[in-house]
Protein backbone atom coordinates (compact mmCIF):
# COMPACT_ATOMS: atom_id res chain seq x y z
CA UNK A 1 0.00 0.00 0.00
CA UNK A 2 1.29 3.49 -0.78
CA UNK A 3 1.49 6.35 1.67
CA UNK A 4 -1.72 8.20 0.65
CA UNK A 5 -3.89 5.11 1.01
CA UNK A 6 -2.14 4.21 4.27
CA UNK A 7 -2.99 7.66 5.57
CA UNK A 8 -6.60 7.25 4.50
CA UNK A 9 -6.91 3.80 6.04
CA UNK A 10 -5.25 4.63 9.38
CA UNK A 11 -6.27 8.27 9.68
CA UNK A 12 -8.66 7.84 12.63
CA UNK A 13 -6.04 5.95 14.64
CA UNK A 14 -3.22 8.30 13.70
CA UNK A 15 -5.37 11.28 14.59
CA UNK A 16 -6.31 9.72 17.94
CA UNK A 17 -2.62 9.09 18.62
CA UNK A 18 -1.76 12.66 17.73
CA UNK A 19 -4.61 13.94 19.87
CA UNK A 20 -3.32 12.00 22.87
CA UNK A 21 0.21 13.28 22.21
CA UNK A 22 -1.02 16.86 22.17
CA UNK A 23 -3.25 16.33 25.18
CA UNK A 24 -0.46 14.81 27.29
CA UNK A 25 1.87 17.58 26.17
CA UNK A 26 -0.53 20.34 27.16
CA UNK A 27 -1.48 18.88 30.54
CA UNK A 28 2.14 18.07 31.36
CA UNK A 29 3.32 21.53 30.39
CA UNK A 30 0.68 23.21 32.53
CA UNK A 31 1.68 21.14 35.54
CA UNK A 32 5.37 21.59 34.70
CA UNK A 33 4.81 25.33 34.45
CA UNK A 34 3.50 25.39 38.01
CA UNK A 35 6.36 23.19 39.26
CA UNK A 36 8.89 25.24 37.33
CA UNK A 37 7.59 28.51 38.73
CA UNK A 38 7.49 27.21 42.31
CA UNK A 39 10.95 25.62 42.21
CA UNK A 40 12.35 28.51 40.17
CA UNK A 41 11.20 30.90 42.91
CA UNK A 42 12.65 28.62 45.58
CA UNK A 43 15.98 28.61 43.77
CA UNK A 44 16.25 32.42 43.95
CA UNK A 45 15.15 32.53 47.58
CA UNK A 46 17.37 34.13 50.21
CA UNK A 47 16.99 31.02 52.37
CA UNK A 48 19.59 28.36 51.85
CA UNK A 49 17.23 25.53 52.76
CA UNK A 50 14.71 26.51 50.12
CA UNK A 51 17.41 26.87 47.49
CA UNK A 52 18.65 23.42 48.51
CA UNK A 53 15.26 21.84 47.90
CA UNK A 54 15.13 23.32 44.41
CA UNK A 55 18.68 22.25 43.69
CA UNK A 56 18.01 18.63 44.66
CA UNK A 57 14.90 18.48 42.48
CA UNK A 58 16.60 19.98 39.45
CA UNK A 59 19.66 17.77 39.87
CA UNK A 60 17.57 14.60 40.05
CA UNK A 61 15.65 15.54 36.93
CA UNK A 62 18.76 16.46 35.01
CA UNK A 63 20.86 13.62 36.34
CA UNK A 64 18.63 10.74 35.27
CA UNK A 65 17.33 9.70 31.85
CA UNK A 66 13.71 10.43 31.09
CA UNK A 67 13.15 6.78 30.23
CA UNK A 68 14.35 5.68 33.66
CA UNK A 69 12.12 8.31 35.25
CA UNK A 70 9.15 6.92 33.33
CA UNK A 71 9.91 3.31 34.35
CA UNK A 72 10.40 4.36 37.95
CA UNK A 73 7.07 6.16 38.07
CA UNK A 74 5.11 3.59 36.06
CA UNK A 75 6.58 0.36 37.45
CA UNK A 76 8.64 1.23 40.52
CA UNK A 77 6.45 3.42 42.65
CA UNK A 78 3.17 1.49 42.08
CA UNK A 79 4.90 -1.72 43.12
CA UNK A 80 5.94 -0.26 46.44
CA UNK A 81 2.56 1.35 47.01
CA UNK A 82 0.75 -1.76 45.83
CA UNK A 83 -1.46 0.13 43.37
CA UNK A 84 -2.40 -0.37 39.73
CA UNK A 85 -0.83 2.31 37.57
CA UNK A 86 -2.33 3.93 34.53
CA UNK A 87 0.09 4.54 31.64
CA UNK A 88 -1.34 7.93 30.70
CA UNK A 89 -1.38 9.19 34.27
CA UNK A 90 2.14 7.89 34.88
CA UNK A 91 3.25 9.46 31.63
CA UNK A 92 1.82 12.83 32.55
CA UNK A 93 3.42 12.70 36.00
CA UNK A 94 6.77 11.78 34.46
CA UNK A 95 6.74 14.54 31.86
CA UNK A 96 5.46 17.12 34.35
CA UNK A 97 8.22 16.37 36.83
CA UNK A 98 10.81 16.23 34.08
CA UNK A 99 9.83 19.42 32.27
CA UNK A 100 9.22 21.06 35.66
CA UNK A 101 12.89 20.61 36.50
CA UNK A 102 14.05 22.19 33.29
CA UNK A 103 11.49 24.98 33.58
CA UNK A 104 12.68 25.69 37.12
CA UNK A 105 16.12 26.34 35.68
CA UNK A 106 14.62 28.51 32.95
CA UNK A 107 12.66 30.51 35.53
CA UNK A 108 15.75 30.89 37.71
CA UNK A 109 17.78 32.11 34.75
CA UNK A 110 15.02 34.49 33.70
CA UNK A 111 14.62 35.97 37.17
CA UNK A 112 18.37 36.32 37.64
CA UNK A 113 18.70 38.06 34.29
CA UNK A 114 16.64 40.98 35.58
CA UNK A 115 18.86 43.58 37.19
CA UNK A 116 18.86 43.72 40.98
CA UNK A 117 17.86 47.36 40.77
CA UNK A 118 14.38 46.36 39.63
CA UNK A 119 13.65 44.46 42.82
CA UNK A 120 15.24 47.20 44.91
CA UNK A 121 13.21 49.93 43.21
CA UNK A 122 10.02 47.95 43.78
CA UNK A 123 10.85 47.22 47.42
CA UNK A 124 11.87 50.83 48.06
CA UNK A 125 8.32 51.84 47.13
CA UNK A 126 7.06 49.61 49.91
CA UNK A 127 5.95 46.68 47.79
CA UNK A 128 6.21 43.32 49.58
CA UNK A 129 8.58 40.75 48.05
CA UNK A 130 5.82 38.61 46.54
CA UNK A 131 4.08 41.54 44.92
CA UNK A 132 7.35 42.88 43.53
CA UNK A 133 8.20 39.47 42.16
CA UNK A 134 4.80 39.02 40.56
CA UNK A 135 4.29 42.47 39.09
CA UNK A 136 7.79 43.70 38.40
CA UNK A 137 10.27 40.83 38.07
CA UNK A 138 8.28 37.95 36.58
CA UNK A 139 6.67 39.89 33.71
CA UNK A 140 10.13 40.97 32.60
CA UNK A 141 11.67 37.57 33.26
CA UNK A 142 9.03 35.77 31.21
CA UNK A 143 9.80 38.00 28.25
CA UNK A 144 13.45 37.06 28.29
CA UNK A 145 12.51 33.44 28.91
CA UNK A 146 10.12 33.16 25.99
CA UNK A 147 12.52 31.45 23.54
CA UNK A 148 13.62 28.94 26.19
CA UNK A 149 10.01 28.30 27.23
CA UNK A 150 8.95 27.57 23.68
CA UNK A 151 11.96 25.35 23.22
CA UNK A 152 10.94 23.36 26.30
CA UNK A 153 7.40 22.99 24.90
CA UNK A 154 8.82 21.44 21.75
CA UNK A 155 11.14 19.15 23.72
CA UNK A 156 8.27 17.95 25.90
CA UNK A 157 6.10 17.34 22.84
CA UNK A 158 8.83 15.16 21.38
CA UNK A 159 9.47 13.46 24.72
CA UNK A 160 5.90 12.14 24.75
CA UNK A 161 7.07 9.59 22.17
CA UNK A 162 9.15 7.90 24.88
CA UNK A 163 5.92 7.13 26.71
CA UNK A 164 5.25 4.49 24.04
CA UNK A 165 7.48 2.17 26.06
CA UNK A 166 5.05 2.16 28.98
CA UNK A 167 2.17 1.53 26.62
CA UNK A 168 0.68 4.97 26.14
CA UNK A 169 -1.00 4.92 22.73
CA UNK A 170 0.22 8.32 21.71
CA UNK A 171 1.38 8.93 18.17
CA UNK A 172 4.59 6.85 18.27
CA UNK A 173 2.91 3.87 19.93
CA UNK A 174 0.09 4.14 17.38
CA UNK A 175 2.71 3.88 14.65
CA UNK A 176 4.23 0.80 16.26
CA UNK A 177 0.83 -0.87 16.56
CA UNK A 178 -0.01 -0.16 12.93
CA UNK A 179 3.32 -1.60 11.78
CA UNK A 180 2.69 -4.70 13.89
CA UNK A 181 -0.32 -5.25 11.62
CA UNK A 182 1.00 -4.32 8.19
CA UNK A 183 4.83 -4.50 8.45
CA UNK A 184 5.16 -1.27 6.40
CA UNK A 185 7.80 0.24 8.61
CA UNK A 186 9.19 2.79 6.14
CA UNK A 187 5.86 4.27 5.12
CA UNK A 188 4.33 4.39 8.59
CA UNK A 189 7.35 5.95 10.29
CA UNK A 190 7.51 8.50 7.47
CA UNK A 191 3.88 9.44 8.13
CA UNK A 192 4.42 9.61 11.90
CA UNK A 193 7.54 11.71 11.49
CA UNK A 194 5.71 14.08 9.15
CA UNK A 195 2.90 14.49 11.65
CA UNK A 196 5.33 15.45 14.46
CA UNK A 197 7.15 17.73 12.08
CA UNK A 198 4.03 19.61 11.02
CA UNK A 199 2.83 20.14 14.59
CA UNK A 200 6.22 21.40 15.68
CA UNK A 201 6.53 23.72 12.69
CA UNK A 202 3.15 25.21 13.53
CA UNK A 203 4.31 25.70 17.13
CA UNK A 204 7.53 27.37 15.99
CA UNK A 205 5.63 29.75 13.71
CA UNK A 206 3.30 30.76 16.52
CA UNK A 207 6.21 31.25 18.88
CA UNK A 208 8.08 33.49 16.44
CA UNK A 209 4.97 35.66 16.37
CA UNK A 210 4.75 35.81 20.15
CA UNK A 211 8.42 36.70 20.45
CA UNK A 212 8.04 39.54 17.99
CA UNK A 213 5.05 40.93 19.86
CA UNK A 214 6.89 40.83 23.15
CA UNK A 215 9.41 43.63 22.84
CA UNK A 216 8.58 46.60 25.00
CA UNK A 217 6.54 49.48 23.81
CA UNK A 218 6.69 48.44 20.18
CA UNK A 219 3.03 47.52 20.01
CA UNK A 220 1.94 50.85 21.46
CA UNK A 221 2.83 54.40 20.51
Amino acid sequence: MNIPSLIVQYWPRLLAGLALTVEITIISLILAGILGLVFGLLSVSKRKGLRGIALVYVDIVRGTPLLVQAFFIYFGIPQVLGIQSDPVVSGIITLSLNAGGYLAEIFRGGIESISRGQMEAARSLGLPYGMAMRSVILPQAVRTMTPALINQCIITLKDTSLLSVIGVTELTQTGRLIIANNYQSFEVWAIVAAMYFIIIMILSKISKRIERKMSYGKSKN
Binding site: S115, E120, A121, S124, L125, G126, L127, P128, Q140, G217
Partner: protein
Protein backbone atom coordinates in the same frame (compact mmCIF):
# COMPACT_ATOMS: atom_id res chain seq x y z
CA UNK B 1 12.66 66.64 66.41
CA UNK B 2 14.69 64.71 63.86
CA UNK B 3 13.06 63.16 60.84
CA UNK B 4 15.91 60.69 60.52
CA UNK B 5 18.00 59.71 63.52
CA UNK B 6 20.95 57.40 63.04
CA UNK B 7 22.77 56.19 66.14
CA UNK B 8 25.96 54.14 66.25
CA UNK B 9 25.27 52.60 62.88
CA UNK B 10 27.68 49.87 61.88
CA UNK B 11 27.60 47.85 58.72
CA UNK B 12 29.97 45.17 57.59
CA UNK B 13 29.96 42.83 54.63
CA UNK B 14 31.69 39.78 56.05
CA UNK B 15 35.08 41.01 57.23
CA UNK B 16 34.78 44.32 55.45
CA UNK B 17 33.69 47.06 57.82
CA UNK B 18 32.08 49.65 55.61
CA UNK B 19 30.29 51.84 58.16
CA UNK B 20 32.05 51.96 61.49
CA UNK B 21 30.11 54.35 63.68
CA UNK B 22 27.70 56.68 61.97
CA UNK B 23 25.67 59.18 63.97
CA UNK B 24 23.46 61.55 62.08
CA UNK B 25 20.29 63.46 62.71
CA UNK B 26 18.34 64.98 59.86
CA UNK B 27 15.69 67.54 60.68
CA UNK B 28 12.39 68.03 58.93
CA UNK B 29 12.83 69.88 55.62
CA UNK B 30 16.58 69.67 55.88
CA UNK B 31 18.67 68.91 52.80
CA UNK B 32 21.78 66.88 53.52
CA UNK B 33 24.45 66.22 50.92
CA UNK B 34 26.80 63.33 51.52
CA UNK B 35 30.17 63.45 49.83
CA UNK B 36 33.14 61.13 49.96
CA UNK B 37 35.49 59.03 47.92
CA UNK B 38 34.37 56.03 45.92
CA UNK B 39 33.95 53.02 48.18
CA UNK B 40 33.68 55.09 51.34
CA UNK B 41 30.21 53.73 52.11
CA UNK B 42 27.89 56.48 50.93
CA UNK B 43 25.53 54.15 49.07
CA UNK B 44 25.65 51.66 51.90
CA UNK B 45 24.54 54.35 54.34
CA UNK B 46 21.59 55.35 52.13
CA UNK B 47 20.65 51.73 51.57
CA UNK B 48 20.63 51.10 55.31
CA UNK B 49 18.20 53.97 55.80
CA UNK B 50 15.49 52.15 53.84
CA UNK B 51 16.65 48.68 54.83
CA UNK B 52 17.85 47.60 51.40
CA UNK B 53 20.83 46.60 53.53
CA UNK B 54 20.40 45.37 57.08
CA UNK B 55 22.40 47.36 59.60
CA UNK B 56 24.90 45.21 61.49
CA UNK B 57 24.24 47.22 64.64
CA UNK B 58 22.91 50.58 65.75
CA UNK B 59 19.53 52.16 65.22
CA UNK B 60 17.96 54.12 62.39
CA UNK B 61 14.79 55.96 63.21
CA UNK B 62 12.72 57.46 60.44
CA UNK B 63 9.84 59.52 61.68
CA UNK B 64 10.05 57.75 65.02
CA UNK B 65 10.08 54.21 63.57
CA UNK B 66 13.18 52.11 64.06
CA UNK B 67 13.91 50.69 60.63
CA UNK B 68 16.42 48.19 61.99
CA UNK B 69 13.72 46.56 64.09
CA UNK B 70 10.95 46.78 61.58
CA UNK B 71 10.36 43.06 60.95
CA UNK B 72 7.11 42.69 59.07
CA UNK B 73 6.48 46.41 59.09
CA UNK B 74 9.35 47.23 56.81
CA UNK B 75 7.09 47.55 53.78
CA UNK B 76 4.94 50.05 55.60
CA UNK B 77 7.99 52.08 56.68
CA UNK B 78 9.53 52.04 53.22
CA UNK B 79 6.42 53.69 51.81
CA UNK B 80 7.48 56.83 53.65
CA UNK B 81 11.07 56.77 52.37
CA UNK B 82 11.49 57.58 48.70
CA UNK B 83 14.61 56.38 46.93
CA UNK B 84 16.12 57.53 43.65
CA UNK B 85 18.85 55.37 42.17
CA UNK B 86 21.83 56.15 40.02
CA UNK B 87 20.54 53.76 37.33
CA UNK B 88 16.93 55.09 37.48
CA UNK B 89 15.52 51.54 37.71
CA UNK B 90 12.24 52.40 36.04
CA UNK B 91 10.06 49.39 35.25
CA UNK B 92 10.60 48.88 31.52
CA UNK B 93 7.37 46.92 30.98
CA UNK B 94 5.18 49.73 32.30
CA UNK B 95 4.35 53.08 30.76
CA UNK B 96 5.57 56.21 32.50
CA UNK B 97 2.12 56.75 33.99
CA UNK B 98 1.96 53.16 35.23
CA UNK B 99 5.48 53.38 36.68
CA UNK B 100 4.28 56.23 38.87
CA UNK B 101 0.76 55.05 39.69
CA UNK B 102 1.48 51.34 40.08
CA UNK B 103 2.65 51.17 43.70
CA UNK B 104 -0.07 53.37 45.25
CA UNK B 105 -2.70 51.26 43.47
CA UNK B 106 -1.09 47.89 44.23
CA UNK B 107 -0.78 48.84 47.89
CA UNK B 108 -4.42 49.97 47.88
CA UNK B 109 -3.55 53.50 48.98
CA UNK B 110 -5.38 55.01 46.04
CA UNK B 111 -7.86 53.97 43.40
CA UNK B 112 -6.55 53.70 39.86
CA UNK B 113 -8.22 56.96 38.88
CA UNK B 114 -6.86 58.82 41.89
CA UNK B 115 -3.37 57.43 41.38
CA UNK B 116 -3.32 58.34 37.70
CA UNK B 117 -4.52 61.82 38.40
CA UNK B 118 -1.82 62.23 41.02
CA UNK B 119 0.73 60.75 38.60
CA UNK B 120 -0.18 63.30 35.95
CA UNK B 121 0.23 66.08 38.48
CA UNK B 122 3.66 64.76 39.39
CA UNK B 123 4.58 64.51 35.72
CA UNK B 124 3.64 68.15 35.35
CA UNK B 125 5.90 68.91 38.28
CA UNK B 126 8.87 67.23 36.59
CA UNK B 127 7.80 68.74 33.27
CA UNK B 128 7.07 65.46 31.47
CA UNK B 129 3.32 65.52 31.16
CA UNK B 130 3.42 64.67 27.45
CA UNK B 131 5.35 61.45 28.14
CA UNK B 132 2.66 59.79 30.29
CA UNK B 133 1.95 57.01 27.83
CA UNK B 134 5.38 56.12 26.53
CA UNK B 135 7.68 53.42 27.82
CA UNK B 136 10.90 54.26 29.69
CA UNK B 137 13.15 53.04 26.86
CA UNK B 138 11.78 55.86 24.71
CA UNK B 139 13.03 58.50 27.15
CA UNK B 140 16.44 60.11 27.56
CA UNK B 141 18.39 59.42 30.75
CA UNK B 142 17.47 62.77 32.23
CA UNK B 143 13.81 62.21 31.49
CA UNK B 144 13.95 58.72 33.01
CA UNK B 145 15.49 60.07 36.19
CA UNK B 146 12.80 62.72 36.46
CA UNK B 147 10.16 60.01 36.10
CA UNK B 148 11.95 58.02 38.80
CA UNK B 149 11.73 61.03 41.10
CA UNK B 150 8.02 61.36 40.33
CA UNK B 151 7.56 57.64 41.02
CA UNK B 152 9.14 58.00 44.46
CA UNK B 153 7.09 61.11 45.19
CA UNK B 154 3.88 59.27 44.34
CA UNK B 155 4.10 57.51 47.69
CA UNK B 156 4.09 60.88 49.49
CA UNK B 157 7.31 60.07 51.31
CA UNK B 158 8.51 61.93 54.40
CA UNK B 159 12.11 61.66 53.26
CA UNK B 160 13.74 61.33 49.86
CA UNK B 161 17.04 59.52 49.41
CA UNK B 162 19.10 60.16 46.27
CA UNK B 163 22.08 57.97 45.42
CA UNK B 164 24.16 59.84 42.86
CA UNK B 165 21.08 60.65 40.80
CA UNK B 166 23.04 62.38 38.02
CA UNK B 167 26.14 60.18 37.79
CA UNK B 168 24.79 58.01 34.99
CA UNK B 169 23.67 60.97 32.91
CA UNK B 170 25.22 62.69 29.94
CA UNK B 171 26.48 66.10 31.07
CA UNK B 172 23.80 68.02 29.19
CA UNK B 173 21.07 66.23 31.14
CA UNK B 174 22.43 66.79 34.62
CA UNK B 175 20.93 70.25 34.90
CA UNK B 176 17.32 69.22 34.30
CA UNK B 177 17.47 66.62 37.08
CA UNK B 178 19.22 68.92 39.52
CA UNK B 179 16.67 71.65 38.91
CA UNK B 180 13.84 69.24 39.75
CA UNK B 181 15.69 68.40 42.96
CA UNK B 182 16.25 72.05 43.77
CA UNK B 183 12.57 72.71 43.39
CA UNK B 184 11.80 69.76 45.63
CA UNK B 185 14.12 71.16 48.29
CA UNK B 186 12.42 74.53 47.99
CA UNK B 187 9.05 72.87 48.46
CA UNK B 188 10.26 71.63 51.82
CA UNK B 189 11.11 67.99 51.20
CA UNK B 190 13.52 66.37 53.61
CA UNK B 191 16.33 65.08 51.43
CA UNK B 192 19.50 63.05 51.81
CA UNK B 193 21.55 63.28 48.65
CA UNK B 194 24.72 61.39 47.84
CA UNK B 195 26.36 63.41 45.10
CA UNK B 196 29.52 64.35 43.30
CA UNK B 197 27.88 67.59 42.17
CA UNK B 198 29.67 69.97 44.50
CA UNK B 199 27.92 72.94 42.93
CA UNK B 200 24.57 71.47 43.86
CA UNK B 201 25.74 70.70 47.39
CA UNK B 202 27.04 74.23 47.83
CA UNK B 203 23.83 75.79 46.59
CA UNK B 204 21.11 73.54 47.98
CA UNK B 205 22.45 71.69 51.01
CA UNK B 206 21.72 72.87 54.51
CA UNK B 207 24.48 70.61 55.69
CA UNK B 208 27.27 68.75 53.94
CA UNK B 209 28.63 65.52 55.32
CA UNK B 210 31.97 64.07 54.37
CA UNK B 211 32.34 60.34 54.90
CA UNK B 212 35.68 58.60 54.95
CA UNK B 213 36.63 55.08 55.98
CA UNK B 214 33.31 54.42 57.62
CA UNK B 215 33.11 57.56 59.73
CA UNK B 216 31.59 61.00 59.32
CA UNK B 217 34.80 62.96 59.29
CA UNK B 218 33.42 66.41 58.78
CA UNK B 219 30.02 68.04 58.68
CA UNK B 220 28.62 71.52 58.59
CA UNK B 221 27.03 74.10 56.35
CA UNK B 222 28.44 74.02 52.80
CA UNK B 223 30.18 77.34 53.27
CA UNK B 224 32.24 75.83 56.09
CA UNK B 225 32.90 72.39 54.68
CA UNK B 226 33.87 73.74 51.28
CA UNK B 227 35.25 77.11 52.37
CA UNK B 228 37.07 76.18 55.52
CA UNK B 229 37.46 72.41 55.90
CA UNK B 230 39.11 71.39 59.16
CA UNK B 231 40.01 67.75 58.62
CA UNK B 232 43.06 66.96 56.50
CA UNK B 233 41.23 64.15 54.73
CA UNK B 234 38.42 66.49 53.77
CA UNK B 235 40.95 68.93 52.41
CA UNK B 236 42.62 66.19 50.37
CA UNK B 237 39.30 64.99 49.00
CA UNK B 238 38.14 68.47 48.05
CA UNK B 239 41.46 69.22 46.38
CA UNK B 240 40.92 66.14 44.28
CA UNK B 241 37.36 66.85 43.16
CA UNK B 242 37.23 70.64 42.97
Amino acid sequence: MGKVKIKNLKKNFGDLEVLKDINLEVKEQEVICIIGASGSGKSTLLRCINALEDASSGTIEVDGNDITRADGNINKYRQDIGMVFQQFNLFPHMTVLKNISFAPVALKLKTKAEAEEAALKLLRRVDLEEKANVYPEQLSGGQQQRVAIARALAMNPDVMLFDEPTSALDPEMVGEVLSVMKQLAKDGMTMIVVTHEMGFAREVADRVIFIDEGFIVEEGPPSEVFGNPKNQRTINFLNMVL
